[in-house]
């Protein structure tokens, strides 16, 4: 009995006495995924992490903490210790929390470990829709106000941003049918409940290849290698060039204040993981653009994204507070 407690004390002491970061990671790391199982963020996070674990030499236990447009997961990481043992896998949404009044924290309270990849928006339509290109669509909508049904998701999501872009250039009189994600909306598109949907290329790519939906325009400045025949929006409507390229993204983050050597280790691990050929082919296959940004580059990317998007949706009247209040500069 005596012996046991002595050993216990020694173990406890040696554990606490060890310079906590000498051998990071010395215990399991918690990985918090902002979005639900099966979504893009989840799939990418679960695909890259085992590669990064191999480099890191530690285990990352992944869990989905969903709700509040991702704010619940974000806050959980923000409330944990800044010791690198709680890692956030997040998408672009937090950069809009402040203007949407969804929370008072965003990625400025975090250090980006790796901005993994960016999605490419694409406008797709039901196969029976009476138009095939963007100009044809605009002409049809102008001739039939309110008759065309656009799928939408909540304000701040990709569809709302793409719609805001379109409305800023060519105002359209359409009916918006709300869905809770682009997956359900694309299903509805195929069933004819909606006619047009702005979606991320990855979610639509197989449907386009299989002929269950038709592409109208790719919202990017260059064509996608997966779908080289789909015209970009700038090829028909060059006025869109000033807001593109734009796209949702996902990345790995730790809380601000995490020690530099921990950040360096995690950054190296995820950068290495992102290079793995299998992961690269997953990213390509789902129609994403690999970024793998970290450090300075990642910060610049985040700030640029926040400024473009916040002002875009603010000008479209979708925000609850002006980006100015939070010192977000105009692009």
């Amino acid at each position: 009995m005596m012996m046991k407690s002595v050993i216990g004390a020694v173990v406890a002491l040696s554990l606490s006495a060890l310079p906590a970061l000498a051998e990071y990671p010395e215990k399991e790391i918690q990985g918090i995924i902002q979005w639900g199982a099966g979504g893009s963020t989840d799939t990418v996070a679960r695909a890259i992490t085992p590669r990064a674990e191999a480099v890191l030499g530690g285990k990352i236990v992944m869990q989905n903490v969903t709700g509040g447009v991702g704010a619940i997961g974000l806050n959980q990481v923000a409330d944990a210790d800044a010791d690198g043992y709680t890692v956030l896998f997040g998408a672009e949404n937090p950069l809009l929390y402040k203007v949407m009044k969804l929370g008072d924290k965003d990625y400025s309270d975090f250090i980006p470990i790796n901005i993994i990849a960016r999605g490419v928006p694409i406008l797709v339509a039901n196969v029976d829709a009476p138009f095939n290109t963007f100009p044809e669509m605009v002409a049809y909508i102008n001739a039939n106000p309110k008759a065309v049904k656009f799928g939408s998701t909540g304000p701040g999501g990709l569809p709302s941003v793409v719609t805001a872009m379109i409305n800023a250039k060519t105002p359209l009189d359409v009916t918006f049918i709300p869905y809770d994600g682009d997956g359900p909306a694309l299903t509805a598109l195929q069933g004819g409940a909606i006619h047009v949907m702005p979606a991320v290329l990855g979610a639509a790519i197989e449907g386009i290849k299989g002929g269950t939906m038709k592409p109208i325009a790719l919202f990017d400045v260059e064509a996608s290698p997966q779908l080289p025949d789909v015209p970009t929006i700038v090829s028909t409507n060059p006025e869109f060039a000033d807001v593109l390229p734009w796209g949702p993204f996902f990345g790995v983050f730790v809380k601000e204040g995490t020690p530099d050597d921990v950040v360096a280790k995690l950054t190296a691990a995820y950068a290495e993981g992102a290079k793995h050929p299998d992961f690269v082919s997953l990213i390509d296959g789902r129609g994403f653009k690999m970024l793998s940004l970290s450090g300075e580059e990642a910060e610049t990317f985040l700030n640029g994204w926040q400024s473009t998007t916040s002002w875009l949706i603010h000008d479209a009247g979708l925000t609850k507070a002006s980006p100015e209040e939070f010192g977000i500069p105009k692009p």
Binding site: A12, K59, Q63
Partner: protein, 171 residues
């Protein structure tokens, strides 16, 4: 009209609370978007809470008609001591889970309740609890990697140490 069951103690209070609760929820549902549109986010909540209110009023009226029960008391038939103790124990569990951690809290909870309800000896209750908590811990934490709050037990370090031990042996 209906069967004339006697009213149970507290029934009138509960049914009245349901009326007031429904009224409050209806008011709250109205606050979501008012009578903006049929498709407004507040439309379905307003319909459902209105249905609640109508039903609650009908139920309350019905319970007014019943005669009061004579042989039941709140302390014996509605909230006897063991039930109050159990509710308190669950609440205490939730409060202690974060600071104390999963293993100690669960152990204390089980030991306490089994001892209190069953009049087992404290030792038997404790042994039984330790065994059950261990099984639950193995299933949830090890097999399904559900992270329960570790609290004062350095779980992650101990597990890492075990893993190191096995890895060391394997190498």
């Amino acid at each position: 009209m209906q069967t004339k069951q006697p009213r149970r103690p507290g029934e009138l209070v509960f049914n009245l609370a349901m009326v007031l609760g429904s009224l409050f929820l209806l008011w709250s549902a109205y606050g979501i978007s008012g009578f903006e549109a049929l498709s407004a986010p507040g439309a379905v909540p307003m319909v459902t809470t209105a249905a609640m209110l109508v039903c609650a009023v009908l139920i309350f009226r019905e319970s007014l008609r019943k005669g009061a029960s004579t042989d039941e008391t709140v302390a014996r038939d509605i909230l006897p001591l063991p039930i109050l103790v159990t509710i308190a124990a669950v609440a205490a569990y939730a409060l202690l889970l974060r600071p104390l951690g999963f293993l100690p809290t669960s152990f204390l909870f089980l030991t306490g309740l089994i001892y209190y309800l069953g009049r087992y000896s404290l030792l038997r209750a404790a042994l039984l609890s330790a065994l059950i908590v261990l099984i639950i811990f193995l299933i949830f934490r090890i097999v399904f990697t559900v992270l329960m709050p570790p609290g004062i037990v350095p779980e992650a370090e101990i597990l890492a140490w075990f893993r190191g031990l096995f890895a060391g042996r394997g190498a």
